[in-house]
């Protein structure tokens, strides 16, 4: 098995993965240190209509929005919301999806089939549509966005884990463990799960980016965190009315979403190269 150190070194050696990692580290840093970095921490919640829609300047690095709040500070605090949504939603999807995938993959009987069909039902409806339906029904709030995203994202993990487990089921080392009389739960947790960890990690990283994108779409549609929360999707939605004149008010949150999603995707790709030799990108240089 490769050590964490090996993986980290390989990641840093890959420029695009390193860039992705850098963006995500920066995102986390920004989210944690938001109150320190923000130029107008009070202006995140405080509106000052007299300064509305000012272009970027030294005082307001990214300009001000329609209510006169500092966009730069709002973006920084918005990183917290974004990160919370992504981590909790993907975390919850993992909690649901991976065990179901393990069970369905391992059992393979009617139970496994039934679980798979349930996940198929969720996959049949596009994630964004299902998420809109759920959060619209429950009412706009961060909690409901998280709920909607986790409920709609877990089948991806189930599918992935199921396929991996099916392939592993008849490997020699598993058969050996069965022959030795190791209890099933022990085989699944200690032998199967570690072997399918790599694709899960890759999927998680890509899923984070995907989830952030969907969460922003929900925010844009007014289904996310209620105002005045500095949610990026909502910020774009509010700014859209003043395009193209006040371009800065939509540009900053748009770029923020773009960068973060790209970061997670690059990292995901990089991780896949390092962890999963079967689907490595075609790169003759390495």
């Amino acid at each position: 098995m490769r050590t964490a150190r090996d993986i980290a070194l390989k990641l840093i050696g890959d420029p695009s993965a390193a860039l992705g990692l850098l963006i995500i580290v920066a995102l986390v840093a920004v989210a944690v240190l938001a109150p320190l970095i923000a130029t107008h921490p009070e202006a995140v919640w405080d509106m000052n209509p007299r300064d509305r829609l000012l272009p970027p300047s030294e005082t307001y690095l990214f300009g001000t929005d329609r209510m006169g709040a500092d966009i730069f500070s709002r973006i920084l605090f918005g990183a917290r919301i974004t990160l919370t949504i992504a981590i909790v939603a993907v975390g919850a999807a993992l909690m649901i999806g991976v065990p179901i995938g393990l069970i369905s993959g391992w059992c393979g009987n009617w139970l496994g089939e039934a679980l798979l069909r349930v996940s198929d039902i969720f996959l049949a409806v596009p994630q964004i549509v299902l998420a809109i339906a759920i959060s619209q029904t429950l009412g706009p709030s961060i909690e409901n966005v998280i709920l909607a995203l986790s409920v709609t994202y877990w089948p991806w993990f189930t599918r992935l884990v199921h396929a991996e487990v099916r392939a592993l089921r008849h490997e020699t080392f598993i058969e050996a463990a069965i022959a030795l009389g190791v209890p099933t739960w022990r085989i699944v947790l200690l032998h199967v799960l570690p072997s399918v960890l790599s694709p899960i990690i890759v999927r998680t990283s890509i899923g984070m980016g995907f989830t952030i994108l969907t969460a922003s779409a929900l925010g844009f549609l007014g289904l996310g965190a209620p105002p005045p929360a500095p949610e990026w999707g909502r910020m774009i939605s509010e700014a859209r009315e003043f395009l193209p004149e006040a371009w800065w008010s939509a540009l900053a949150p748009g770029l923020a979403i773009f960068l973060v999603v790209m970061g997670f995707n690059l990292l995901g790709d990089g991780l896949r190269d390092v962890l999963d030799p079967r689907i490595r990108r075609g790169n003759p240089g390495r």
Partner: protein
């Protein structure tokens, strides 16, 4: 091609094919010319809120006024600006000296869309229906007239007998939109006065006849050539009113000529963009529309006078009127528009003062243990921003609040029950008739509690007495004193939060002419409109 021919049951020879192709080509060429003439001119209006019903008696608001003005007629109709009551289906009317009986002589030969004639019995049925259904303008009529108090003297004479004299009865007569009695009765189900049917169908005599209705989209109507008012030389053949909740979609749609008219609740930024574009115009007219917040007075903490005063001190009036709206509007400190009679000139109202807000909160008995719900109308950016600004002020004063948006038809439904009415709801009271009763009268009379006019569910016997008396008098100076007194009381009680009074702005396509603004119709009566050239 060959493969396909083999598959058909009727083999087609090449010659036939060519002949048919030629015919098809001619047909296409004709089709390109003909439908343009057949379909005629078409007008699309993008409304801020949806059309959930086309029942003319179900709503009495600006949001759904297009249904009533275009598909239906009344005995009288408000026209011109300043508004004048003009005889419409009625030719003339007489009021008895005691002010109790109103007799209308109706025109002969006014036709419903199905060809039958509009008669006095239809008017009687329509008023009875309004009172029975209990929606729209019924809360007003209920204070004046009982069911069965309208009589058809003969086919063309209708007489209303009021319970007591009323200064505004005539003003609301236009809201008795005449429905085709025979047609509605035929479609009644279980004594519902045809509500289920009429909410989706047309039983009117108006200048346009409903052809399509989908609550998720809007309604389409064709010109009714037999309309009693007759038509000039130019007109719009088809009108469509659509609910489009997104402001940008509406504005861009107007600029791209997808829409030829859009709702006028816009911000300065948007109005300027339309004006500078060149494909559309912004019509302006003197009118009255008060933006305000209604407080749900029925539950704590809003039921506490000091909490209400604190909220009134926590709104940045100047920031909203001058900065966000760019001075488009004028501060209006009372529920009555500044420009109408009956306004107590000495009342200054509330100003933005967080210290006073905190001082009031200190006096309050009620505990604010959960966030106050600030409701705005989705699709109306101004109301959303006002809610955010109020939230901002409240946060600084130490009051937790949450901002929630509802579509107009939804929030009107919520108002019916004090339990579902939001704590604070921000919207407008437009001119339905040019009388102080339209504002302070209906907003604070217990008879209208639960309508969007009185979403506060405000009930105060003292104010009721003043308003009732004002309604029973005809002398304007006497009435003015009573409205002044009522206004003083509700301002002192902070029974609402009043923000501004504005003119009317109507964004329409440049090529559209003949649009007539009058305050009650918000320029959505399309009978006189046409395209130039």
């Amino acid at each position: 091609m060959r493969k396909r021919q083999r598959g058909t049951t009727f083999p087609v020879s090449r010659r036939d094919l060519i002949a048919q192709g030629g015919a098809a080509a001619v047909a296409v060429a004709l089709a390109e010319v003909l439908p343009a003439q057949a379909a005629g001119t078409r007008f699309v209006f993008a409304n801020e809120s949806d059309y959930d019903t086309v029942d003319p008696h179900a709503a009495f608001d600006v949001g759904r006024v297009a249904v009533r003005l275009n598909l239906y007629d009344g005995l009288l109709r408000w026209q011109k600006n300043p508004a004048v009551l003009e005889p419409w289906v009625a030719e003339s009317y007489v009021i008895s000296p005691d002010g109790l009986s109103y007799t209308f002589k109706m025109r002969k030969g006014v036709k419903f869309h199905d060809g039958s004639e509009v008669k006095a019995q239809d008017v009687v049925y329509s008023l009875d229906r309004i009172l029975a259904v209990g929606k729209g303008a019924s809360s007003l009529f209920k204070t004046m007239i009982d069911p069965g108090a309208a009589k058809a003297v003969d086919d063309y004479t209708v007489e209303f007998t009021l319970r007591k004299p009323s200064a505004i009865f005539l003003s609301v007569v236009p809201e008795i939109h005449i429905v085709n009695r025979a047609l509605v009765q035929k479609n009644e189900a279980g004594g519902d006065w045809g509500q289920a049917w009429l909410s989706k169908n047309d039983a009117g005599s108006g200048a346009y006849k409903l052809t399509q209705f989908d609550p998720a989209v809007g309604f389409v109507a064709q010109r009714f050539p037999d309309h009693f008012k007759g038509w000039g030389t130019k007109w719009l053949d088809e009108i469509e009113f659509r609910g489009v909740k997104d402001t940008n979609t509406r504005v861009l749609g107007l600029l791209r000529d997808d829409f030829q008219g859009i709702g006028g609740y816009l911000q300065t930024d948007q109005l300027n963009r339309i004006k500078s574009n060149g494909t559309a115009q912004v019509l302006e007219a003197e009118s009255m529309r008060v933006m305000m917040a209604q407080f749900n007075m029925t539950r704590a903490p809003i039921s506490d006078l000091h909490v209400r005063r604190a909220i009134s001190y926590a709104f940045d009036y100047d920031g909203f009127n001058k900065d966000i709206l760019g001075g488009l509007v004028e501060r209006n400190p009372t529920p009555l528009p500044n420009t109408i009679w009956g306004v107590p000139k000495d009342v200054k109202g509330y100003s933005f003062d967080l210290d006073k807000a905190k001082a009031e909160l200190a006096k309050a008995q009620a505990k604010i243990d959960k966030p106050i719900e600030l409701a705005f109308l989705t699709g109306f950016q101004q109301s959303e921003q006002a809610a955010q600004l109020l939230q901002n002020g409240l946060t600084k004063a130490g009051v937790p609040s949450k901002v929630v948006g509802y579509p107009w038809p939804t929030i009107v439904d919520k108002f019916k029950d004090p339990n579902t009415t939001p704590d604070v709801s921000i919207y407008w009271i437009s001119t339905y008739y040019a009388d102080p009763h339209n504002w302070v009268g209906e907003m604070f009379s217990s008879s209208t509690a639960g309508t969007f006019k009185n979403a506060a569910h405000y009930k105060n016997p003292k104010v009721d007495a003043l308003l009732d008396k004002a309604l029973s008098l005809t002398d304007q100076s006497e009435r003015a004193k009573l409205y002044e007194e009522a206004t003083r009381i509700v301002v002192d009680e902070a029974a609402g939060l009043w923000i501004y009074n504005t003119k009317w702005y109507g964004p329409y396509s440049n090529k559209l002419k003949g649009i007539v603004f009058y305050p009650i119709g918000s320029a959505q009566e399309m009978r006189t409109a046409y395209y130039e050239g």
